[in-house]
């Protein structure tokens, strides 16, 4: 037996360290399908409790939509359960290519390649298309999967201050001598809910002959007039060279991701991206579900319109109640509490009132920027939002933070 006491102790000590630092993550078991209302077992061992969910990425309420479930059943019946192969051996079905074409059409791009997840898309894309002569210039708040992808790539890298276009321009000038330059950012930032200045970025990229990359995981399906994403909202459709996105959030919420964009870049990924080459792609049942999701969204903007209305109601309600929010207009609405313990206590009190929303604190967000991140869905009905708002106000009153400024809250609770 190689798992000696000494080895065991090394891990036990590390786990204890994580626990003592208050960073130990615990799963909560949900006994229902994903929806506006879910049944949560919390604490573990207790009877499941019915709560309104305001922390899922289920922006369009499609995760358990009857039509999507029906399409998935049909996919299961006609294309089977698994492929038992990677794409380029015998793991590609007609529906995989059909989905790639549909995604290109939806995003307004030249071509698309599926990945097992968007984490995999981000992990694989940079290495497939860049060499040590190139430079990746990324926003400092990009998603962890992008950071991992950049770490796996031999290209040089640099960063710019979050959404600071003057700083980005300086970096583009500094690296003018590199073979290829890629500017890398998220379309909507998942922790703050703010939107990238893609129009300004596209102009800078044109000026300095740089490629533009954007991760649309928190935008695809609902940002922009017809839900195509941040590039639609910013009026730069067709100008983004590389888009990555996930099917694990608004677009049905199951799993899977893709790289979409310039034809040659997508082809390079097909030839070289390791998570594509060495891992099974999305299961047929999920592909069938996503195809239906894209049909639903292409036929009508009803769901994203409802999401916009719900978001307006929610932001207005919380603002009028006197909470400190992060500015923005996306369905990611962070309620700022600044102190980590306050965020945890607040979340627990909400749960007691039937509202499921999670506290985020360092190191997921910067020190002193603890918050409850709420996420609104087209699956929420007005009565859900009204009940959730009532609960927020009730707990806000308990901690006496309504109408208080950031400074005042920090004075009361620390940061």
């Amino acid at each position: 037996m190689a798992y000696s006491d000494k080895i065991k102790e090394i891990y036990q000590n590390q786990l204890t360290g994580i626990q003592e630092a208050g960073l130990f993550k615990q799963e909560r078991f949900i006994h229902s399908s994903q929806d506006a209302e879910i049944e949560v077992e919390f604490p573990t061992g207790s009877a499941p409790k019915k709560v309104i969910n305001v922390c899922a990425n289920n922006y369009l309420g499609l995760s358990s939509h009857p039509e999507v479930i029906k399409a998935a059943h049909e996919g299961l019946d006609t294309r089977g359960y698994g492929m038992s192969s990677v794409r380029f051996i015998c793991g590609t079905q007609d529906i995989h290519r059909e989905l790639e074409n549909k995604v290109s059409e939806f995003l307004g791009t030249e071509d698309t390649i599926l990945f097992p997840s968007c984490m995999d898309a981000n992990a694989g894309v940079f290495e497939a298309i860049l060499t040590s002569e190139d430079i990746m210039i990324s926003d400092r708040l990009v998603h962890a999967s992008i950071i991992d992808g950049m770490r796996l790539c031999a290209a040089q890298h640099d960063t710019f201050k979050h959404s600071d276009m003057a700083h980005l321009e300086k970096k583009l000038q500094l690296h003018a001598d590199k073979r290829l330059k890629v500017v890398i950012n998220d379309g909507v930032y998942s922790m703050d809910g703010d939107t990238a200045k893609l129009d300004e970025m596209a102009a800078l990229c044109e000026k300095y002959d740089a490629l533009l990359f954007v991760d649309e995981s928190h935008s695809s399906g609902f940002i922009g007039k017809t839900g195509r994403g941040t590039h639609e909202k910013c009026g730069v459709m067709g100008k983004i060279d590389i888009i990555t996105t996930t099917f694990g959030k608004a677009l049905g919420g199951a799993s899977g991701g893709c790289v979409s964009g310039r034809k040659e870049i997508v082809e390079m990924c097909r030839q070289k991206a390791r998570p594509y080459l060495f891992s099974n792609t999305i299961a047929p049942v999920v592909v069938s579900g996503v195809l239906r999701v894209l049909d639903i969204l292409s036929q009508s903007t009803e769901r994203r319109d409802k999401l916009e209305e719900n978001t307006k109601f929610w932001r207005k309600g919380l603002t009028e109640a006197g909470f400190v929010l992060k500015d923005g207009d996306t369905p990611i609405v962070p309620v700022m509490l600044f102190n980590a313990k306050l965020a945890q206590d607040f979340s627990k009190d909400l749960f007691d009132l039937g509202i499921y929303a999670i506290g985020f604190f360092f190191p997921v967000v910067p020190q002193g920027a603890a918050r409850i991140r709420t996420q609104i869905s087209a699956g929420h009905e007005m009565h859900h939002l009204e009940k959730a708002l009532d609960a927020f106000i009730q707990v806000g009153k308990k901690y006496d933070i309504l109408g208080k400024t950031k400074q005042e809250i920090i004075e009361m609770y620390g940061n």
């Binding site: 950049m150 040089q156 890298h157 640099d158 960063t159």
Partner: protein, 80 residues
């Protein structure tokens, strides 16, 4: 010649800080304090190498060695 520490501090503030966190001093923990993330550290390394005409091996460019302006000065002098 300007003091090396002053020059480094000036760069750190310009490159990494905004109104919310510009009260950085010579011994403010930059990386462990969350002001500079380890991924963004690379521009600081590049700046030092260009400014002082040195080359810092990756093995020496650890987050610990870059954690304060004081420590960075020690590091730079080691490779001058």
């Amino acid at each position: 010649m300007e003091d090396m520490k002053e020059i480094i501090l000036e760069y750190v503030i310009e490159e990494y800080c905004d109104e919310e966190n510009d009260d950085v001093t010579f011994d403010t923990p930059l990386i462990s304090g969350g002001i500079v993330d380890s991924f963004s550290m690379v521009s600081l390394k590049r700046f030092l190498e260009n400014k002082y005409k040195i080359s810092i091996p990756d093995a020496d460019a650890s987050p610990e060695a870059f954690d304060t302006v004081n420590k960075i000065e020690v590091l730079v002098k080691r490779f001058q």
